[in-house]
């Protein structure tokens, strides 16, 4: 066994999960936004919530190839659970309530996961949309609990960890959301860089061969669908906790479509797509809504149409240099990105492996 080859491969594998300077810069910027953009905390909170939601969709769509038009089912479920926990003072501490809501959504994800295992893309679209609509209808019908079409009123949030009360300006809310987003991101990063994460990409790429090399395709899909549901539930709970309100539209098709659009804008399969896309989406939405408050949906639709006509591959190629940089670090299921090819002879990172 040649030593240089072992070093090269060892170094490459170890380097895949290393933090890229751009990543570190990004999170420092996010941290800085707490202090540098105090007027924007409200919209930044919305972005953070959407980013977490889009991140959860990336786990099933970008990494595992499950097309879902009803991911809002878990978002909304988490949102309502969080609302009810707060309103009826069952769990008053927000972080704990967040975990409970996420867990509830996780269980819902597990229970419905078997629905997306079989059938074609269209079947999955249908079934996921159907589940979201069923939940919406349930929420509509049990209005004695959920407030029905009027939404759940009268939610009052206790201080985070008992120490930081939510303020009107939204500062505490933003820091809270940002920390949750970061923590969940770290976890997701770990997952996608693990052997499990690699197996997800193989299931997405070629489920037949994945099964032929010993991977239980259904088992992996159930696992990631469940986890992604939990993530979406946490995002929904964050929304409820930071706005102190939740209503039926958390289950709507528009909600599922918005998160899909945000993820697609940012790009699937490299974990940052959801975050980047959410920033772009929210800024775009804000800008358009200021121009035409009532008909901004038209422009969002137009953006969708243009994105598809231009081609996501082509868009990926425009950002190819940036993506090549990001691609070299860890999560690398990005579309159309040619793997950066370091020459086997000179790999500085090989020498200082872990």
């Amino acid at each position: 066994m040649s030593q240089p080859l072992t070093e090269d491969i060892g170094g490459y594998v170890a380097g895949r999960a290393r933090w890229h300077p751009l990543e570190i810069a990004f999170w420092i910027a996010a941290l800085a936004s707490i202090f540098l953009l105090p007027n924007k905390h409200l919209i930044l909170t919305e972005i953070a919530v959407l980013a977490l939601f889009a991140l959860s969709l990336d786990l099933i769509l970008g990494y595992s190839g499950i097309i879902s038009l009803g991911h809002a089912a878990f978002f909304g479920f988490g949102g309502y659970v969080a609302g009810l926990l707060a309103k009826h003072e069952i769990v008053t501490e927000p972080v704990l309530a967040l975990l409970v809501s996420g867990f509830a959504a996780l269980v819902l994800g597990f229970v419905t996961s078997f629905l997306v295992l079989r059938g074609s893309d269209l079947t999955r679209l249908m079934v996921t949309l159907g589940v979201a609509l069923v939940l919406r209808e349930i929420a509509n019908q049990i209005d004695w609990l959920t407030g029905g079409a009027d939404g759940l009123q009268g939610i009052v949030m206790a201080p985070v960890l008992g120490l930081f009360p939510f303020d009107i300006a939204g500062h505490v809310a933003y820091v809270y959301c940002l920390i949750v987003l970061f923590a969940m991101f770290l976890l997701a990063r770990r997952i996608v860089n693990s052997p499990f994460g690699l197996s997800l990409r193989s299931v997405k790429g070629n489920p037949l061969r994945a099964s032929a090399v010993g991977i239980s395709v259904n088992g992996r899909l159930v696992a990631i669908y469940t986890v992604a549901a939990g993530y979406a539930g946490i995002a929904g709970a964050l929304l409820t906790q930071t706005t102190q309100f939740v209503s039926l539209d958390v289950f709507s098709l528009e909600r599922s479509a918005d998160v899909l659009l945000a993820l697609v804008i940012g790009g699937t399969g490299y974990l940052y797509g959801g975050i980047v896309g959410s920033i772009l989406f929210k800024l775009m939405q804000d800008y358009i809504a200021n121009l035409t408050p009532q008909y901004w949906q038209f422009w969002i639709g137009l953006v969708l149409v243009i994105i598809v006509l231009v081609g996501r591959e082509r868009m990926a190629n425009w950002s190819a240099p940036l993506r090549a940089l990001l691609a070299r670090l860890g999560p690398r299921a990005a579309h159309g990105v040619r793997t950066a090819r370091p020459s086997p002879a000179a790999r500085p990172s090989a020498a200082d492996g872990p």
């Binding site: 609509l133 069923v134 209808e137 479509a257 639709g301 994105i307």
Partner: protein, 286 residues
């Protein structure tokens, strides 16, 4: 009980006319057109404008709605959709959702967001006594028109050259193309007719389903259910699926009002668990 059945059949046949274009599109080109409901909405609003604002007789407005929507469909197909056929399903979904958003907002802007009512001719209002039961005249009309359409469609598919070309192309586009069938042309015509039928269904259905800009969003799931449960390899599949869903929905809402809306979703989920390809799809269907 018979009235429930009657109403359910009317509803189901309406669903069928609305959804059959989608079924054939999906089966033929494996294209997920979530914007199908927008064509239905277009037909409804065109009829509204013709009848309410311009005094065109209702029965004359219906074929016009069909034609105009078919032409709109043909234009969209040639200019926009054709670029998206080869793309993955996710892109098709995004594209057609984008079209839905645009159409919903555009109609809201032009026509306002309130629900609209088409002025029905006097002869269609009220009830008629049929075999001892009082049935709604309008619903009777729907059953008659949709029934005739279904028979006509079946005839076209089974007994005309175009029909056999269409069936061949649905079965296997590559082989059909190799036999000299102009698959793209077949599809263009089929898409136009399917959109026209959706428009006609929207016009007929305005009275029963309600007509407002959110129509495509509200009823998207219904069309998709019909297509998924019924499969895409024939029109008998969606036909039976539509009847099943129509009767199920009406009966459900009557007998168990609280859970009536769930009946359709439950049927869909149960069917998809049992047979992911739909009730009537062949084993080799895509």
């Amino acid at each position: 009980m018979l009235i429930i059945l009657f109403d359910g059949i009317a509803y189901g046949m309406l669903l069928f006319v609305l959804a059959c274009g989608l079924a054939v599109t999906l089966g033929l080109m494996n294209f997920v057109n979530l914007a199908h409901g927008s064509f239905a909405m277009a037909g409804g609003y065109i009829t509204l404008l013709l009848v309410n604002r311009n005094g065109v007789p209702f029965f004359a407005a219906l074929p016009i709605a069909f034609l105009v929507t078919a032409i709109i469909g043909a234009i969209f197909e040639r200019t926009l959709y054709v670029h998206v056929y080869a793309k993955p399903h996710l892109d098709q979904v995004l594209f057609t959702i984008g079209l839905v958003f645009m159409s919903v907002a555009a109609v809201d802007y032009v026509m306002g967001s309130q629900q609209q009512y088409i002025q029905l001719p006097g002869m269609l209002q009220g009830q008629i006594n049929l075999f001892g039961i009082n049935v709604g005249k309008y619903r009777l009309l729907i059953i008659v028109i949709c029934g005739l359409l279904t028979v006509a469609l079946q005839f076209i598919l089974a007994s005309t050259r175009f029909g056999s070309r269409l069936r061949a192309a649905v079965d296997d586009p590559r082989v059909a193309s190799g036999l000299g069938i102009h698959v793209k042309g077949v599809f263009a015509v089929t898409f136009a007719v399917g959109s026209g039928l959706a428009g006609l269904g929207g016009a007929l259905g305005a009275e029963i389903l309600g007509l407002d800009p959110t129509f495509p969003l509200k009823f998207m799931i219904y069309f998709l259910i019909v297509v998924t449960v019924g499969g895409t390899s024939s029109i008998t599949g969606p036909f039976i699926a539509s009847l099943l869903l129509g009767i199920g929905d009406v009966a459900g809402k009557y007998y168990v009002p609280k859970f009536g809306a769930f009946v359709i979703y439950t049927i869909m989920i149960v069917v998809l668990i049992w047979r992911p390809q739909g009730l009537f799809a062949r084993a080799t269907a895509r």
